[in-house]
Subunit: 588 residues, 2 copies
């Protein structure tokens, strides 16, 4: 695929020097991703494309409407994030653009998977349309796995083959997003084969997602269609995948920092053509402070990668990965996305150009990105019937009962095991009041179905109060963990009222609510505005016992993610992740 | 684009080891184009695709229908020729496959430009269909420039935009062939813009052809659409193009050997991602003796390129250049084209596999490639009205006249200049009998038009007799150079009778005729059979004075190529190549 100019004949004239360029960037040290050289050059831009790069006569500037003096700094292609869920920032696509652009991210490959689980195709169209004309390229991969675990949870949508095929026609769609259901791929599942075929036959990009896959399973996955992965964590895993021809997207998200381990495996290889860089999930405060893909490039350099190779991995390698021919380089015919850098190692852009326009300078956005209004933003996506106190209790008989408990493997770990425990029964209900490490976990379907599941969890981490969230991967139901019923009722009712978000309560009082009214996932605030709210939310979570976590927000949002072993909750009950069955409340 | 297996579910099962592989190649040192490693491995193949590569457990061979012992040799991907005109071998696509396969060429990107100039779309379909099922991949680029120089010559066809668009749908078509008319590109010529748009919008490959282009002209060409070039000759030219992001196909044809000069320019660059290798034009005897793309790889290594980089340039780099995702590597999901090599430097394959089938061993083809019959092969493409002796003479008045003569710049050079000369007139005709360096040159339209042009040439190189050819780039009219009329008549009549080819005569006798009955360009003989004929033809050409040439065949075939400056013949007269006008016979 190629990004085409509005008027090619005019671009040709500008290339020939027959009409003035829109912009000439002078006094720049250009990083050439083809040769690996860093050379003085003048870059001429017309209509958003690079018309000419002059390496020979760098003292004579030809006619241009605007001249930008790079003051001897480096000029490198705009950075491309190989895989990101914008929803993880809790920002709208517009506000996301505002925060990542000053850090040098000019293109992102996004997977609107989260909002897809809430609103289905409507949600994906919203992210697509909202991400247009935002002075950066937000390219869309259509989510492949909505719901993530069919039959074991109810999401807000079921994206079948025909809807996916329709979404693939949208102008900013470039491929299929992280194919997480590796079993469906390697076992040749009919639905998955049909989805993959749409993208294969149209020459579109198919993004993989294959944590820990190796050996023949990895080979089968690669034969099946997906040929890339951003879920590599381990050094040997990186070596195996890279050897197998899998394009590795090295990830440093807000919580998973994999660059170090991955590069340790690849550093002695001769070629880095099939290596890219991504953020996957970064929160808005991270994006504001350390940055986005520039921060991952910086990490790669710190871990021993040559700065040129690291920048190449974040530019042309990724453009090639997604089959875009003229993005990611400073050369004639390429899109004029570029950044200036005082230092390659620091990766702090002093100027950012997208489509040949100066959009940010010295960490400040200098263009207006218009807010757009969409009807979907006004919808309350938190739909369930009024709850009563009865919904927060588990009926039981006798004096005690054997219960299947979801037990965390450790306070910092997201993995769990099944723990069969004998629990007291009081007044006809399970009573956990004696054991401070036990809590209730309730998952309420918020997508209009009248179902919910209540179980017991050990070592969740809270010591008191209640924590609730409508960000609850991947089905994004309303999940609440609590010991006292009245605390639970407070946060549940609060989230229903504001249309979703996160909330914590203690001693019968709301500690804080972070409203995320768009799909229960996104705020309409800018990163700066939202940050204050997020800090307060974290403080509230710390005060109910999650102060030991690097990011206390993360605990509740993954408690109902039935792809992380061994057992996780869903709105249908406790899921045996490995066997793919629902485990009953009571053990035999 | 991706090459898809017939039955993906079966391939997945083979990858998982649930059903036996068709083939296991054991005891091999596999060259991994992703990592640059050379490692012991077992390669499992199913249904023409690589199902699994086992690097860990290389001592245990799993179930496979056939086991091939590579005896510790190197196993590298099958070689890809980035650009070739099969017609230059004078072989049919079937016989071409027979000769290049044992040398390790498993894929060629062909431009059926020559036969396109004779038969138009029918000729291209012939090459396409004849090149199917030949145990190798003959991928087609649709010729972009038929005729090469519109208005200054008459070819047998005029491939307009709509025909090109139609041909682009053929299954083995992958792109647009060498866009030679760089002026049409950079000046935004309407017809050219339309053609380029077809391929750009469909994400197809656009092959460039830009000899000596540099500076802003090169930038404009790249902005226009073509992004590759196999016409680089000079070291500085290579540096300029590579820096500008042009994918360079290093060529060593039978006559143009550019690898040395190109690699001298690129050798210190950090990246060779955008470097490929091609043969362009190789005669059958060359293909038989030294080989095809393997010989170019060998030349690259001899000129200092690391063998791994050279092989990568002849495999995955080229697959990426033409947008084929799963060709050119030994990895799961890739097409099972591979060769074994006792030595990387020697590049003499001991075994060649295409689509997982062993097709050649120790320089011998071991599979049957069926000859197919096509009606077009029986057509006589040499169509013009019977000539008389009068057609071989130039009428003139007075005792002498001033004549515009096409004068070669040297006996070994193909460039020319215009020489205005005073020539004798005898009996009402120009008389050149006094000057042994002057000859007549006659170009007869053989595509059914009743026109021809007769002029005078200086320093063509022959000393006596007549030389004629229906290979006469690019319009492939019948071109004959002679001094005695009766010799000319012999070769012209002979070529008309046999349906084209080359012929030489002397002293009223036919010395030799090399019949090329298919389109006046190709023989139906195999390379071995044809070789004898070619040797005799060369001997005949030497005996009329072309013995000083490295390849005496080349002189006549480029005498009517009106893209090589300054002046060249066509069926319309003497062409001023730079001014693009016809020069009259007589000077003022």
């Amino acid at each position: 695929m190629r990004l085409l100019p509005k008027d090619k004949k005019a671009l040709l004239k500008a290339a020939l020097g027959q009409i003035p360029a829109d912009l000439a960037i002078v006094n720049a040290k250009v990083f050439n991703v083809f040769t690996g050289e860093i050379l003085p050059a003048i870059v001429y831009v017309y209509d958003g494309f690079i018309a000419h790069v002059e390496y020979d006569d760098v003292d004579h500037v030809e006619d241009a409407k605007q001249i930008y003096d790079a003051q001897g700094q480096y000029l490198v292609p705009g950075l491309i994030d190989a895989h990101v869920h914008i929803e993880s920032s809790m920002l709208t696509p517009v506000n996301f653009a505002k925060v990542v652009l000053p850090k040098g991210t000019t293109t992102v490959i996004t997977d609107p998977h989260e909002i897809g689980n809430v609103f289905g195709a409507r949600g994906i169209r919203y992210m697509h349309d909202c991400g247009m004309d935002v002075h950066m390229r937000q390219l869309i991969d259509v989510p492949s796995c909505v719901p993530s675990v069919p039959g074991l949870e109810n999401a807000g949508a079921d994206l079948d083959y025909s809807i996916i095929e329709e979404l693939a026609q949208l102008p900013n769609v470039i491929g299929l997003a992280e194919v997480m259901d590796y079993l469906a791929v390697i076992n040749g599942d009919e639905r998955m084969m049909k989805i993959l075929e749409v993208f294969e036959k149209n020459g579109l990009y198919i993004q993989g997602h294959a944590p820990f896959l190796s050996g023949r399973n990895l080979s089968a996955y690669l034969c099946g269609g997906p040929r890339t992965c951003h879920e590599t964590r381990d050094t040997q895993e990186a070596i195996n995948k890279y050897r197998a021809g899998m394009h590795i997207d090295m990830r440093d998200s807000s919580i998973c920092r994999n660059v170090k381990e991955i590069f340790a495996g690849l550093k002695d290889f001769r070629y880095f053509d099939t290596l890219s860089i991504c953020t996957d999930d970064r929160e808005s405060d991270d994006l504001m402070s350390v940055g986005g893909i520039n921060d991952v490039v910086r990490a790669a350099i710190k871990n021993g990668m040559d700065p040129r190779d690291a920048i190449k991995s974040a530019t042309i390698n990724t453009a090639r990965e997604i089959h875009l021919e003229n993005l990611g380089a400073i050369a004639p015919g390429y899109v004029a996305d570029m950044i200036t850098l005082p230092s390659l190692e620091d990766m702090k852009p002093s100027a950012v150009f997208t489509n040949g326009e100066l959009v940010a300078q010295d960490d400040k956005l200098i263009v207006e990105i218009a807010n757009k209004e969409f009807a979907i933003e006004q919808e309350n996506s938190v739909n369930f019937k009024e709850l009563t106190l009865e919904d927060f209790k588990i009926k039981a008989e006798g004096e005690s009962c054997m219960v299947n408990v979801m037990a965390y493997d450790g306070k910092e770990l997201s993995t769990t095991h099944l723990s069969v425990e004998e629990l007291k029964v009081k007044d006809g209900y399970i009573d956990i009041s004696d054991d401070p490490d036990l809590k209730y976990i309730l998952v309420i379907n918020r997508h209009g179905l009248d179902n919910k599941a209540l179980r017991i969890v050990r070592d969740f981490g809270t010591t008191c109060g209640a924590v609730a969230s409508t960000i609850s991967h991947d089905a994004h139901n309303l999940t609440v963990v609590f010991d006292k019923l009245e605390d639970a009722l407070i946060v549940v009712n609060q989230l229903k009222a504001v249309g979703g978000g996160m909330a914590a309560s203690k001693d019968g009082k709301l500690l804080h609510c972070l409203p995320l009214p768009i799909g229960g996932l996104l705020s309409q605030k800018t990163a700066e505005e939202l940050n204050d709210d997020v800090v307060k939310m974290k403080t509230a979570l710390c005060s109910v016992g999650l102060d030991y976590m690097v990011n206390p927000l993360m605990r509740i949002v993954t408690a109902a993610l039935p792809v992380v072993p061994d057992v996780k909750m869903s709105d249908l009950g406790l899921v045996d992740v490995n066997k793919k069955v629902i485990i009953p409340t009571f053990a035999e």
